[in-house]
């Protein structure tokens, strides 16, 4: 009996997309045959553009790559009007190199490194100007969050994944406070990861692994983690359910996924509340134009329910100038001001008068925080859910996990035994 083959190939007719996943290391043409058959069927059915999605193909040997090239070369002859677009990820280092090379030789081949711009806000999020913002935020939120994490199921000795870990400070705090078996922290920003690694080195932290990766296509095994966190992150993606699906996948059945997200519209400060409210409403519009939704906080309950989680818990942390060091809170707002009136305003092309008004609003917010008769609150919504022990454990009969776009396929060809 042969050991199970390590790759799958599927054709999604509606998307005109062939999806290859796993490890494709074929010994010969015969071993590649199921892949070639699927590609040929897809090429026969597709019009205009055929996508070949390699985001989850971790390994491909040269022999298989040559066979893929042969397919492209043959299509040049048999379907000259068809273009073939290979979708690759920088999380798989060999892929952009190989398929970039292919496009030099075959004019009908295109390569797209999808994670160069795979969510609209990526350019403003994944750069080092955001580091001071993230640092100060973690400092003031942790004091409130550390106890709350226990209520959401965190305890010592767990395997934890922190997805969209940013600068990695939360992973370090988790490591110190909860003595996990291991923490795997993943982010797609190289500046953030470099910072995270530097901090871990300086603090002599062992037991935290930092991975460069794509939160929508994680190279982490199914059901590997007892506790999966993703903080202040779903709010920056235009398709948060894609991320949530991955968080569920890597969570052990019976384990919990823990999320935090904001409801920026509820940021409030008195006095000067009108100016402050306008500032955050304007910021929300700017962020929305980049596909971000910083009102997603309370919507997490629906998201978790729709995804099939059980035992959903949701609550709010209210960061105020009464329960937080005033200067720390003020520093957070000042760091927001710098980022929003700088990077974000530039990215969304705000006119000068808007930027000036934003400056004034943030200063009013800081005034309220520092004022002995002022009050300011920054609400953060916290939600967690348990991955069911069985697939349809808590849903009405006939209802299954919401399918990913990749699962709505018409033809599935697994490599035959």
């Amino acid at each position: 009996m042969a050991s199970p083959l390590p790759f799958t190939v599927r054709y999604h007719e509606n998307n005109q997309e062939v999806q290859l996943e796993g490890s494709l290391r074929t010994a010969d043409v015969a071993a590649f045959a199921p892949v070639r058959a699927c590609l040929d069927d897809a090429a026969a059915a597709a019009r205009g553009l055929l996508f070949v999605n390699l985001k989850r193909l971790r390994y491909c040997n040269h022999a298989a790559f040559v066979q893929l090239a042969r397919f492209v070369a043959d299509c040049q002859t048999t379907r000259p009007e068809l273009r073939i677009k290979f979708i690759v990820s920088s999380a798989v280092p060999w892929a952009p190199l190989r398929f970039g090379f292919l496009t030099e030789l075959y004019p009908n081949a295109i390569v797209e490194q999808y994670d160069k711009a795979f969510y609209p806000g990526q350019g403003v999020i994944e750069n080092d100007h955001l580091i001071p913002v993230l640092r100060t935020q973690t400092n003031i939120v942790w004091a409130h969050e550390r106890e709350l994490l226990r209520r959401h199921g965190l305890r010592p000795g767990l395997k934890i994944a922190d997805i969209c870990c940013g600068i990695g400070d939360f992973a370090v705090l988790l490591h110190k406070e909860f003595a996990p078996e291991v923490v795997v922290a993943v982010d797609h920003s190289r500046p953030f990861l470099q910072y995270a690694i530097q901090v871990a080195r300086e603090f002599g932290i062992q037991g935290v692994e930092y991975h460069y990766g794509d939160a929508a296509n994680l190279f982490l095994p199914d059901g590997a983690f007892d506790f999966v966190t993703s903080r202040l992150s779903l709010q920056v993606f235009d398709q948060p359910e894609q991320i949530l699906r991955e968080l569920m996948r890597i969570c052990k059945p019976g384990g919990r996924v823990y999320l935090t997200n904001e409801m920026m519209g509820h940021n409030y400060a008195y006095p000067r509340h009108e100016s402050v409210s306008w500032t955050y409403q304007q910021t929300l519009k700017m962020l929305a134009s980049l596909g971000m939704d910083l009102t997603i906080g309370p919507k997490m309950y629906s998201l978790l329910t729709d995804m099939g989680f059980e035992d959903i818990r949701i609550e709010q942390i209210g960061i105020t100038n009464a329960n937080t060091q005033v200067e720390d809170f003020a520093r957070v707002i000042e760091s927001w001001e710098e980022y929003i009136t700088g990077e974000l305003s530039s990215a969304t092309r705000q006119p000068d008068e808007i930027v000036e008004r934003l400056h004034a609003g943030f200063k009013d917010h800081v005034y309220a925080i520092r004022s002995r008769r002022g009050f300011a609150i920054w609400p953060i919504f916290v939600a967690s859910g348990r991955r069911p022990l069985r697939a349809a454990a808590s849903r009405p009969a006939g209802q299954t996990l919401p399918p990913s776009p990749a699962e709505s396929c018409d033809t599935v060809l697994d490599a035959p035994p």
Partner: protein, 179 residues
């Protein structure tokens, strides 16, 4: 064995670039070539082990396993099942200050030696990128692809390749930057 905390930055300990052994795998050659999946098992285990102390082990694992698999595949293809010489295949990973060296020492006989040497000569071409570019269309069309995987590693992936020929043992070495 205990490292002090600077083991998180292992290179800081290796300022003089001395070779530090990471792991060695010695495999009976006849047993190795018995099954195609052995290439994958060895490549992934050794790569994952060598990457285990990096802050981003997954990226380095993917790169190392990709490169090592091509080397091991070459060894397997150059030896026919049932006809391989006896002896042992030795895979050794050594760390230097900013790079890893993957060395595979292969026992050869006349037939396997000839096939392996031909592949090695191809990968050692004067301008590997130009050679790969020139050969690729032919390889796709079915020309001799012996050693093409190794040539690709040098041409496209920036891997440094070296070979040592001791007559009945050939040692192939790849040098790979950590990041």
């Amino acid at each position: 064995m205990s490292h002090d905390d600077t083991s998180l930055a292992p290179d800081a300990d290796n300022q003089h670039d001395r070779p530090l052994p990471v792991v060695t795998a010695t495999l009976s050659l006849r047993g190795f070539i018995d099954d195609w999946s052995h290439c994958q098992h060895v490549a992934e285990f050794v790569a994952r082990f060598a990457a285990s102390d990096r802050f981003d082990p997954e990226q380095l694992t993917t790169r190392l396993a990709t490169y090592l698999h091509e080397l091991l595949e070459l060894v397997l293809r150059c030896h026919n099942a049932g006809e391989a010489p006896g002896g042992e295949l030795v895979v050794a990973i050594v760390r230097r200050a900013d790079r890893l060296q993957l060395a595979v020492a292969v026992p050869v006989d006349a037939a396997s030696g000839e096939r392996l040497r031909r592949s090695v000569r191809r990968a050692g071409a004067g301008d590997p990128a130009a050679a790969y570019h020139a050969d690729f269309a032919g390889i796709v069309a079915g020309d001799d692809d012996a050693g093409a995987g190794l040539l690709e590693l040098v041409a496209l992936h920036g891997v440094v390749f070296a070979a040592r020929d001791d007559g009945d043992v050939l040692t192939l070495t790849l040098t790979v930057p950590h990041e």
